[in-house]
Subunit: 400 residues, 2 copies
């Protein structure tokens, strides 16, 4: 009798175990808040795993609209909309930070898997909280002071030259400006923000790190970013970064420190400055696939988009090694053109070996809108610098 009882228990446990194993990610529905280009590239990757993807986006013609299993139009910032959307999913993640974290917290409290965790999204939504967090955790970052309004910024004239950032709502270069001297103070943001010491950097680099629920952590090799002089958007990216082994090691360590300090599950892009005296300082972080990882689709053994899926679905993380050097060029809407997009120079570009064009499915172009990107593969960074410039001059997003 006791024997039968024990067999019975064992049988129940075994059955439950098998059920859990088999339920795993193969039959889960993944909800993504945001249906832009990042979601689009996540879906391209998710197709390989038969994953059911539900997308929520306020724009009825968002880049994901035709390729998701379910596409819902609604505000990402409205509690009810996000909460109801999440209820129909097993796992919920993001491709943009500006979402209703209270709804996500409620979903998590009710047993949904939400990665990155809502508290982390909340932290990252506010650059003030982020900077204080680095300070508390001993993560190297530029000195800063918090400011409540324009008047408070004025009190810190001695802190200039500095970067003035809005605490919230900054995105794609908005909400960030440089105040070089006292005459710039009139431009200061009149809302809660911060002043950050202008870093005299040698290079800007980024490391993407991912962590899954099992605690596995993997970092991608550091990449080097070159920003557009006025639009404050990444213009060129080169992988690997031209840095010493010790800087590479330090950058990897810092990325791991940040994701561990936050206890985050998901994928995190850590943008860093390398100063002229060889320090590595955290600049900004993004808890999602990021512009600095687009080249990984062709250039690395696992792409950042697949790594995002793997991390939030607790799949084994993929190998992140580079397969060959790569450059990435963002395709921004050309100045002076607004309307139905037409890509000039496309044929000439794709006739070249190792050129990969990714258009984001946006019908309408406008100046500086992110319309796509190009990855170029070649043998050396030296060659890639030349080719990236040529591609940038060749492909222009204009109107029909």
């Amino acid at each position: 009798m006791a024997f039968v009882f024990r067999r019975g228990i064992f049988g129940v446990i075994l059955t439950q175990y098998l059920f859990i194993v088999k339920k795993s990610y193969q039959h889960k529905t993944l909800g993504i808040l945001g249906g832009g280009q990042l979601g689009r590239m996540v879906i391209q990757s998710a197709i390989n795993y038969n994953l059911d993807i539900h997308i929520l986006d306020p724009d009825p013609s968002a880049p994901c609209k035709d390729i998701a299993q379910k596409f819902s139009v609604g505000s990402l910032r409205d509690f009810d909309t996000v909460y109801k959307f999440g209820q129909a999913c097993d796992v919920i993640t993001i491709e943009i930070e500006n979402v209703n974290t209270d709804a996500l917290q409620r979903l998590a409290d009710e047993g949904k898997e939400v990665f990155p965790q809502p508290a982390i999204i909340k932290l990252i939504q506010d650059k003030r909280l982020q900077k204080q967090f680095y300070k508390e955790k001993g993560i190297p970052t530029a000195d800063f002071v918090l400011t409540e309004n324009k008047e408070e910024v004025r009190l810190h004239a001695d802190f200039l030259p500095a970067v003035n950032k809005l605490g919230r709502e900054g995105y794609d270069g908005r909400g960030v400006q440089i105040l070089r001297n006292e005459s710039d103070l009139d431009l200061a943001f009149d809302a809660p923000g911060l002043l950050e010491k202008l870093v005299d950097f040698e290079q800007e680099i980024a490391v993407i790190v991912a962590k899954n629920q099992s605690g596995e952590i993997r970092t991608f090799p550091a990449v080097e970013c070159a920003f557009h002089p006025t639009a404050n958007l990444v213009e060129f990216l080169f992988s690997p970064a031209t840095i010493t082994a010790s800087i590479e090691k330090r950058a990897q360590e810092i990325a791991v420190e940040v994701i561990n300090a936050m206890g985050m599950v998901g994928i995190l892009a850590v943008e860093m400055f390398v100063t002229k005296d060889g320090q590595v300082l955290v600049n900004e972080i993004a808890p999602r696939p990021h512009n600095s990882g687009h080249h990984t689709i062709e250039a690395n053994f696992t792409s950042q988009f697949e790594q995002h899926l793997r991390s939030v679905l607790n799949m084994p993380l993929g190998n992140t090694e580079g397969r060959c050097p790569a450059a990435m060029v963002n395709l921004l809407g050309e100045e002076g053109y607004t309307g139905d997009a037409y890509v000039e120079g496309l044929d000439e570009a794709i006739a070249q070996k190792g050129v990969y064009v990714h258009l984001y499915g946006k019908k309408t172009t406008k100046p500086f809108r992110k319309m796509g990107h190009v990855t170029i593969l070649d043998e050396s960074i030296e060659i890639l610098k030349r080719r990236a410039l040529a591609i940038k001059n060749l492909i222009k997003i204009k109107t029909l």
Copy 2:
């Protein structure tokens, strides 16, 4: 006045030219007959170019159903269904041969771009016509005799051992059988078909070739195929094939000869035998992306799916060089399992460097159904042979 007139004409011509250039493929709708795994992988690639894809498939839960701009359910063999479907598209192509070519011919006659051309699809639908075509054009292929029924096969007992093929409707190993000796004659197909001399081959190889409307032609490097002993489906594929430079050259030449002899625009897979005395003979051809090119997604500079798009849309063809050696393993439904699919061994597989799993979005598995494939990248074919076998033994498509 004459001057103004000439400017006027010039202006009209220029405007039309610009319109044609700008209309190009960037704003065309591509219709694909068939919404299976080949269409699915074409769409994954088409997403990068913002292409509008319409799919027609008889199965409402076909692999493409959720990721096409428009997915229509209907028969591929019904004239009206195919004709109406094609009318809403600018360019029409296929991912399966078994379609209504009369409807495609009507669409072509009415000005639609249909690639491959309907007459070529018609030729390839019938293995008897195909063999006669090779003979006429001097393309090397195994000797054969045409047979109308079982009785006629019996008259050719002296031709055995031979492969008995149905003229039409053969697909994925169906409609093909080996007749080794007279006692096998009872099994002969009792319908129009052919008997083909059994080739004593050393290797089976395949070359994929593409041609666009501008006349550009590109071949992929030859791959080596290993077939499943009973299911007559490719079980393993290795790229590049382990063949001499002269066999490689001959195989490339033959692939180009075939596509040129047919005057075909599109992508063509040419399966060939390498005989023990070093001859290269054409076995079968398929005018669409093919199982023997799945590895190109990760292993070559351009994938066969993108090359398909480029060829039928008259884009410049992509570079076909291999980036590194690769193996491909088909994931067939395990014998003894029919029902909702569950992939066993998936985690262990994707934890490995250079392993890429592609599942085809088929909810239901059954024995030998093509449920997905795995591509493996590594440094040598020797290592890949070992790894491919290990992956085949690791991943099993069973039921939940």
